[in-house]
Amino acid sequence: MSELIQLGSHNERPMPPKADELNLRFSEQAIKELEGLKTHYPNLKACILPGLWIAQREYGGFLDGDAIAEVAHRLSRSYAEVQGVATFYSMYNTVHNPGKHKIEVCTCLSCHFNSAYRIRDYVSKKLGIKNGETTADGMFMLEEVECLNACDRAPVVQVGDRYFGPVDEKSIDALLEELRASEESTVVKMADQIVQVQLKAEERVGTIR
């Protein structure tokens, strides 16, 4: 991606990537949604977070270099700035493609003392992956996360836009079966729903499910 990081000449700010060197993939819906979001804030910089959510949906759940570059281009920010923001937040998938479903197991205090590590190890063994990895078929990713703030339902697991808790081995089995059978990627659905809830009724193109 180094060609995208343009430093410009003589004390200029780093320039945003130009359209002709990019492979733009935002759909018409995404462009409309971004236009709507732009009206919410006094400047384009503030649209980086919502813009990255749109990109995460448009690029199938994974923010690769092209996705970062497209957000930077559409918001007139430099590649480095947008990448810097994206890598700070844990819900943007910037390291590797998470696959279709991200199983997020909370292991923070209340969950920890309600056997969350047992659940994590069970998922890990069942799927044959370690924390932070994705299965070879690209179906599941396992991630140990910090407090999901549903401590009353400890131990809690989040998959996309749904919370499950309290979970045990049996309900994990059922959950994995259900996810395996579903067509839709919960990672993409989550990103889509996050975009939709930020849009006003008249700006919304998709639906809130």
Binding site: H40, Y41, P42, N43, K45, A46, C47, I48, L49, P50, L52, W53, G84, V85, F88, Y89, S90, M91, Y92, T107, C108, L109, S110, H112, F113, S115, Y117, R118, R120, D121, E146, C147, L148, N149, A150, C151, D152, R153, A154, Q158, D161, Y163, M190, Q193, I194, Q196, V197, Q198, K200, A201, I208
Partner: protein, 434 residues
């Protein structure tokens, strides 16, 4: 005292999540009343009520409200901190999911009082259900002239947007939240007195009012029933007024949110939550993971109140109350707490970034059975050097619990260091070791 349901009064009635149902339950009478009042009178009402910030610090809300310029030059912003991330706390989530209009009304009143133009509700990315409930409510409010231009026929116009975070505990800190809203990495900024207060120069360098979800949710009740009435709640305490929602979790029979009046004994809160399960009480963290741990004898005498909790050397914090039974390994608890803060430290300030990592390394070697003599002193020393030495309170929040665990349960640390294994040998406890 029993539960006192004010904010959660209609939480089990889904009908109040629609505008008609909310109005039927007495909603929006606070806003109607506020719009007929002088702006300063609304702020004075909040002052009379004695409302203090419910996010953790307990700062008097009216001082913030009063701090915004009365002569408006630039746009004013109203922010709601809904980036609830404190381990053990889940009250804001419930308030947003079950009483979205209450929050919207509170923010609209706040917007009116401080001449706000735009409000933002910054919700953590994981809380999509809360965001959906709020979006539905906001759409309905817009359609019924309760948001937008000329609200209820007055000359007050106010926009309200939802902004979702993307996974960062640090963004619950007000200056980091503002950085994040502006499209930056969620890192804190220099604070007063080294930098202007947010009320003078906050988000986009404009006057900004920022409060917690629960604080805003109190406002409609304060305006509707009067600040004086609100101040009668919790009047037995030194300086805490109103109700507070406690999220009770851990080893209790009925975990959940319990709204109580200030002045209620902590012991009663435990009784409301059905008592301890699986054994006797061993420890309690009363206000979220950042707050110092207390022992059962302190739980017996503790009264819930901002000053009163100080007497047992802890704090009300955000209200994430966790109880742990006798099979709990305190060193394991300290180990997990240390990991949490090291994972969530944003990395801006060296003492916090390096100190939290260092504490994790020491804790890791203790629970691996390789603890060294002097590790307890070293942990305390590192914690002392993190505390008060970072831009935001995350450094303090990382140091306080570790110091308290060592102060309250030194024998467990000593056992681990000496024997390389847990002093708690029951079957229940062993299942927890990762």
């Amino acid at each position: 005292m029993a539960e006192y349901k004010l904010l959660l009064k209609h939480s089990d009635d889904p009908a109040t999540q629609t505008l008609a149902g909310y109005k039927k339950a007495g909603g929006y009478s606070g806003l109607a009343k506020a719009l007929k009042m002088e702006r300063q009178a609304v702020i004075d009402e909040v002052k009379t009520s004695g409302l203090r910030g419910r996010g953790g610090a307990g700062f008097p809300s009216w001082i913030k409200w009063n701090g915004l310029p009365k002569e408006k030059v630039k746009p004013h912003y109203v922010l709601c901190n809904a980036d609830e991330g404190e381990p053990g706390t889940f009250k804001d989530k419930m308030l947003m999911e079950t009483a979205p209009f209450q929050l919207i009304e509170g923010m609209t009143i706040a917007g009116f009082a401080v001449q706000g133009d735009v409000g933002y509700i910054y919700i953590r990315g994981e809380f999509i259900d809360a965001a959906k409930a709020l979006r539905k409510a906001i759409d309905e409010a817009y359609a019924n002239n309760l948001l937008g231009k000329n609200i209820l026929g007055t000359d007050f116009s106010y926009d309200l947007h939802i902004h979702l975070g993307a996974g960062s505990y640090e963004c619950g800190e007000e200056s980091a939240l503002m950085s994040s809203l502006m499209g930056e990495r969620g890192m804190p900024r220099l604070k007063f007195p080294h930098a202007p207060l947010p009320t003078v120069s906050g988000v986009w360098e404009r006057p900004t009012l920022i409060n917690n979800v629960e604080s805003y949710s109190c406002v409609p009740h304060i305006i509707d029933k009067g600040g004086e009435w609100y101040a009668t709640l919790g009047a037995s305490t030194k300086n805490s007024r109103g109700t507070k929602i406690f999220s009770v979790s851990g080893h209790v029979n009925k975990p959940g949110n319990y709204e109580i009046e200030f002045g209620t004994p902590l012991k009663e809160l435990l009784e409301m939550a059905g008592g301890v399960k699986g054994g006797k009480l061993k420890a309690c963290i009363p206000g979220g993971s950042s707050m110092p741990v207390i022992k059962p004898d302190a739980v017996d005498v503790a009264i819930i109140g901002y000053e009163e909790m100080g007497e047992v050397k802890s704090m009300v914090g955000s209200g994430g109350c966790m109880f742990f039974n006798e099979h709990t390994d305190i060193v394991m608890l300290a180990w997990r707490t240390a990991h949490f803060y090291a994972n969530e430290s944003c990395g801006k300030c060296t003492p916090c970034r390096e100190g939290t990592r260092w504490m994790v390394q020491i804790m890791d070697r203790i629970v691996a059975g390789n603890g060294q003599k002097g590790d307890m002193e070293l942990l305390t020393e590192v914690a002392n050097n993190v505390e008060g030495r970072s831009f935001c309170a995350l450094g303090d929040a990382a140091a306080w619990p570790i110091k308290a665990f060592i102060r309250q349960f030194p024998e467990e640390f000593e056992y681990w260091i000496e024997h390389g294994k847990s002093p708690v040998t029951s079957k229940e406890a062993l299942a927890l070791v990762p």
